[in-house]
Symmetry: C2
Subunit: 235 residues, 2 copies
DNA sequence: TTTACAACATACTGAGTAGTATTTTATTGT
DNA sequence: ACAATAAAATACTACTCAGTATGTTGTAAA
């Protein structure tokens, strides 16, 4: 993405401040406001003027950094995807055992969704948008690139699922379908979850853990009891 | 919704054909095309001309039956919701035992999603749209009404979950969160599922059943083995 | 065959908005 | 003080598109 590195006057560059890959404060503000707007009104329902208004600025500021509304959206998406990736990869590297690793990953995914609901709801919109017809070839290219990362993300889960399957712990017929079920349950949080005033980090973590447990272990209190009571339900 | 009952000339009414609540063929065609367009391009990304083009007609035909794009969307939503309701309520009345009833409901939900993917993707969009700002008060009213039905739908699942909880079969802390997880996994199908040429009714049913099993029973092959191997994972 | 109307098609308007072209302001090096 | 430039604001254009106003046609009752 052609994102200029902003300076102040001619000073910064002249003073030899090297170009950093970290987006500057001004761009971060734009991304935050854009994420919020896209979450609240959707990509198509948000005008650049809406984002500018939330910034307390005008279009000029946004178009100085982004050549189009789509590219702005894509950058928000990229940031949201990065945060998801980092959280889940960190959970993967935990020393949990097979099933525990999966649990940790799903929990991390869910928690990241809640902690970055604006960015992650843009990610979810992006996934849906992929099915829609992206207008220009340029936009389609970027979207494909983003979806490649998204696929990598899903593959993290599929890999762990496969490993559990091979270890004999998990009963899974269709790995992809299974992953879509789990990821769907978590992604759906982008639709219904909005932080409440009393949502402390602990509350969020508990919710994330509960979702994770449910997706991995299901709803049964005690399966050995269950299979007696409902033998026809066992596969 | 002010939907005129179309006739041919002055004949139908004069001939004493009583007004039916069943939408006429022409309206069904409009609904089908609209559902398809909304699925492929989203509500905001679809113009009335797009729908008309797919119909092989012009705007006039659509605006003769619908006073606005939003009302057309809402009618598609209503139809999709009706189909979901019918399927899940039928599954509820099955003579399955507690857990079996839940299984049947989730399976019916998933199957209906696949069999009516265009309409159901509109339903999913509507749920998301509810968070967005609906423009006019009239539209907000209709949307609220639709979401009330949607809530009833979710309550069907919550009720069965509660019953399972009281019977001691299901280990659920937060009924609402649990339902959102299950429904999220199924709703997410609207994003990724598109019928394939080789998707027979049997294949669809197998997929629906697999999703349902996963959501109810989780992924473990054998929990008694599991809790030994991973005692820290048990709650 | 005439009339009345349903069921459209056609032509138009106005509002919103993505993107651009131009101008302004603040800052810094000289 | 002044020149140069980053970081915007302002002003403008072109275009889409929801909704409307009006015209057209086929059909059926009289």
């Amino acid at each position: 993405m052609p994102r200029p590195i902003p300076n102040r006057g001619r000073g910064a560059k002249a003073r030899g401040i090297e170009e950093s890959n970290e987006p500057v404060e001004s761009v971060v503000e734009i991304l935050d406001c854009a994420a919020q707007c896209f979450m609240e009104m959707g990509f198509q329902g948000t005008s650049i003027d809406d984002v500018a208004r939330r910034l307390g600025a005008t279009k000029g500021r946004i178009y100085y950094y982004y050549s189009s509304k789509a590219n702005l959206f894509f950058d928000v998406h990229r940031e949201g995807m990065d945060r998801l990736m980092k959280a889940v990869k960190a959970a993967m590297k935990s020393n949990h055992c097979g099933t525990g690793k999966l649990l940790a990953m799903v929990e991390a995914h869910a928690l990241t969704m809640m902690q970055n609901i604006a960015y992650e709801s843009v990610v979810v919109q992006g996934v849906q948008m992929h099915r829609l017809g992206a207008t220009t070839p340029e936009q389609r290219r970027i979207l494909d690139e983003l979806m490649a990362v998204r696929k990598q993300f899903e593959e993290l889960f599929v890999d762990v699922l496969r490993q559990g399957q091979e270890d004999g712990n998990l009963a899974i017929r269709d790995l992809s379908l299974c992953a879509k079920g789990i990821l769907g349950a978590v992604n759906w949080m982008a639709v219904w979850y909005r932080p409440r005033a009393d949502d402390s980090a602990e509350v969020q973590k508990k919710m994330a853990r509960e979702i994770a447990y449910q997706q991995v272990y299901g709803l049964l209190r005690d399966v050995s009891d269950q299979v007696e009571a409902y033998p026809e339900c066992r596969r």
